[in-house]
Symmetry: C2
Subunit: 575 residues, 2 copies
């Protein structure tokens, strides 16, 4: 690597400069085949997710064109397929509902602005390498949130299956609204909706075996099976057109303008930004976490590497691209990325080719989807999102850790009961709160020598040697402001209610930090023990902690010594 540094930096920020140099005919063919298959899958998804977001169907197509080019330039994953996804579409709907807008133009502007703000947030996070912030979403919180979102989305689509009006962003609202409107259901819509749903569930399980028994090769059968939704779309559309069912209560997608994506400008109204900012932040973080975990899973299979901070830039520019081309917030989708990977996508160029496919659809196919029933789109959404619902984590968390169980249960219930934004925010705060709470009351073990070794363990769990005048406490937590008083109180109580003590050793093997608050507590403890003629010692203080203690007066004031190992302390003090 003898390139100039600025070339290096440019390649880091624009991975396309790296992989495009090695692009050849074979790679092109792989990418093009994958793109074709993803395009077929993405057309109905784009339309459906736009409706889920409460937006006109064409915005889903627009969100699947320019953003894919942007990701192809700035993204690092070879297989990630960017575009509208279910959870982010639901969050978009919730964010826009908060604004209380009614006219279509303002809603579209708000959706574009949301994508723009989210794009800016993601790009800025990427440039400042803040990708680690996503780590504060714990796995149980993400899993609980995705499960609850899947349920909310499925429930919200039932209105299209019944052909009635319903609304709401929480499960009680949606179900209440559904029940009230159920009397006015449309018979033909229900038939189409239920048939499409049943067909799509069957496609997932029965279609591939059928294709195999018809003699297709396994890989081809797998891929053709992914075209099930397109088949459902085509058949039900044809049906509605043939029998003019749109005149018998079946709602259809209707006029979708055909042509290139429009050039749009997000709003820069400070008021609107203020109202959308928190929503945009949540969408950015959820979108990033979802996308990066798919990208990492797929990259690991081929021993490739994802650069999370660069992914932020890839997704950020994709969202900005969505904002300026009539789209709405996008991210990497799980199922379509897996299809892209399975179909052999070798570089991000596959995404660009998919974008060309969708562009052709926007130019040529929109007249054909006039009669596409909304019930069919709802069926594709329901079938797609129910695969996100997974309650097994609840059982797993219950068995492993009540704290994790509390976090996942709270996230699910709050998301269902109060909507996506409350759910995910509360999930993060609850995880962090529970973690801080547990570190604020650390485990402290009194330890003794395991006979025949130099190893010390808990006197209540192991058969160990102890000495009456010497107490050794192993503090199982970093000492910082939240538990500074705790240790002081703990040691004070331990030393008063026992036979005469001469020495207390604090074994610091698990103390990874001693902050200023804790240092002050240690100083106070040292004085308190001194008053009681008890000497305070430390053992197994780690390098970084020792470096810092040396910069304070504590070591000089401490009545006892610092021993390298607990065994040294034991040997010196057992008397």
């Amino acid at each position: 690597m003898n390139m100039k540094p600025n070339r290096d930096a440019l390649m880091r920020y624009m991975p396309i400069l790296d992989w495009s140099r090695r692009y050849d005919r074979d790679t092109f063919v792989s990418d093009a085949v994958a793109a074709l298959i993803v395009t077929i899958m993405l057309i109905p998804q784009s339309l459906a997710y736009a409706l889920l977001a409460g937006l006109p169907a064409e915005m889903g197509l627009y969100a699947s064109i320019l953003p894919l080019f942007a990701y192809a330039v700035f993204g690092t994953s070879r297989a990630l397929a960017v575009g509208p996804v279910a959870v982010v579409s639901l969050m978009t709907a919730a964010a826009i509902a908060n604004l209380g807008l009614t006219d279509a133009a303002s809603i579209a502007l708000a959706a574009g602005t949301l994508a723009f703000i989210s794009g800016v947030i993601l790009t800025v996070m990427g440039v400042f390498r803040l990708g680690f912030l996503a780590n504060f979403l714990s796995h149980p919180v993400i899993a609980g949130f995705i499960t609850a979102s899947g349920l909310l989305i499925a429930a919200s689509q039932l209105k299209h299956i019944f052909g009635i009006d319903a609304h709401g962003h929480t499960l009680p609202q949606i179900l209440g609204s559904l029940l009230r409107g159920l009397g006015g259901f449309s018979f033909f819509t229900l038939v189409i909706g239920v048939s499409a749903t049943a067909f799509l569930f069957w496609v997932r399980k029965g279609f591939k075996p059928l294709l195999l028994s018809l003699g297709l090769k396994p890989r081809l059968a797998e891929l053709v099976a992914k075209a099930g939704p397109v088949l459902a779309v085509a058949v039900t559309t044809l049906f509605v057109w043939l029998f003019s069912l749109d005149q018998y209560g079946v709602r259809v997608v209707g006029d979708v303008p055909s042509g290139m994506p429009p050039l749009t400008m997000p709003s820069f109204s400070p008021n609107l930004w203020n109202e959308l900012f928190i929503s945009a932040l949540l969408i950015s973080i959820i979108g990033f976490v979802e996308s990066v975990s798919v990208a990492q899973t797929l990259a690991a299979k081929k021993r490739q590497r994802i650069v999370p901070d660069q992914e932020l830039i890839g997704l950020g520019t994709s969202n900005i691209a969505a904002a300026v081309s009539g789209g709405y917030p996008v991210t990497g989708g799980f199922s379509r990325s897996v299809v892209n990977y399975d179909a052999g996508a070798a570089t991000p160029a596959a995404g660009a080719f998919t974008a060309i496919g969708i562009l052709l659809a926007a130019l040529l196919l929109t007249p054909l989807i006039y009669f596409l029933p909304k019930a069919t789109l709802a069926a594709t959404i329901i079938v797609a999102v129910l695969s996100l619902v997974d309650f097994s984590l609840l059982k797993r968390a219950w068995g492993y850790s009540k704290v994790d169980f509390a976090a996942v249960t709270a996230t699910i219930l709050l998301t269902l009961g109060f909507g996506v934004e409350v759910g995910v925010s509360a999930g993060v705060l609850i995880s962090i709160g529970l973690h801080l709470y547990s570190t604020s009351r650390p485990h402290v073990a009194e330890v003794g020598l395991v006979p025949g070794t130099q190893h010390f363990r808990n006197i209540h769990r192991h058969n160990v040697e102890t000495v009456p005048h010497l107490v050794t406490l192993r503090v199982d937590e970093s000492l910082y402001f939240a538990n500074a008083h705790f240790l002081e109180d703990y040691v004070s109580e331990r030393v008063v209610c026992d036979e005469p003590l001469s020495d207390v050793v604090l074994m610091f093997s698990a103390v990874n930090e001693v902050d200023l608050s804790a240092l002050e507590s240690l100083e106070a403890l040292n004085l308190k023990l001194k008053d009681m003629s008890i000497t305070l010692h430390l053992s197994e203080v780690k390098g970084p902690v020792m470096d810092r203690l040396k910069r304070s007066h504590f070591l000089a004031e401490m009545t006892g010594q610092v021993y390298l190992s607990q065994f040294d302390a034991w040997a010196a003090l057992k008397g």
Copy 2:
């Protein structure tokens, strides 16, 4: 202790039932003497802090009567003197300013309501034993906040010294407002203000030596010196009265209604509660932290115990008492509690006697303070709060830990620049954020055997033995969601760029928790290493962590073993 359990519970919630049974004549005399001295000190303080809070002077007196009785019943500290204090008065002023009220009655109602909400918050926290929440205010944040508040208070009082109008709740606002109004200063006010300030500073340093040289006993001299503010009040009031200076621009306290504290009702308007809630929460926590640290310091001197959760109830009922008797938020004050302690207060009854003293003042003395110049009250405040200002912590934190330094600096700057509420909230969030950030990127040490021992230390800091095919990593942090990926990435990078490895041991001596997210990461790591034919082992797993791991499938799936001690692992694997 053969009492019935409900009697025990009652005594826990009402400590008066405990100490009052042993109350005798000697204790009474001690308490009464202390109460007399604190009363003399508290009269000018009450008036001054009420003005600081932007309230009529009499509210300061009212806040020093009923609340003290309440604390005497429910509090656990023998020496704490409750009443209006500087920082809480400043926070009250800021909270009320947010409301934009102009008429005196609404302002008084808001102050009472603030005390009531704060009282409810404190009491509820006490009943649910949430006192530990205060631990999340780190020492540097508290110290920084108090220092900055002291500066803000002193700056806000300069207007009274100059006799001009000025306002604002941040340092730039206050100083800007002062500079603009400086042209209209009042000569006589300035003379009184500067003389009073100079006198009070001198009292702090020079009065006691003078009294000693006049032959007073040291303890008496100490206590008489505390009466300096009363002397300043008396002399300047006399001066204004004699020369009718109130007609030459010297602002005076004016009419203060005399009589019993009024019975007042807080507002129960949901709107007002909503607007005041965050302020009340911050006032509660700051008041509690300040009060409990004084109480603990004083109790430690006599080997008495403070029960923080009961202190919450004591302070909570005091604030509710303030709300229903024309007062405003109160807490335990530092300087007056020290005086109370030094003067020999033996039980909380001293507080009740002080309350009687203040009640007598409210009944009899109010006509005498008509001519009391506000400049004198401002001088007592300035002299009192400047002793809170302490920048030495900045130096100490800089030397010890840059993280603590960042927290204290940010707290000071944000409090000065954006007011008390932003300052303290940001301080807490910054401390927690920095702590989480540091735990999200833990220290990991590669360790080897210290020759001649069974002890393992960092290969970069100590001269240790290692084996080429075996890498032992000591993870210096609990494994939880925020750092789950970090360890996986760290180990993956460590194992690829080196000579052929057969075994990796993770030494878990400092791992105090493995949550579900981290467990999933360990499982992924185990699989990844398995693909590379590297065996993963654990050593020194603590009891609580091991208990939990046993409840998962991980131990069964792990390619290697769990060793009790790192030395066992070494002995088995060094080959």
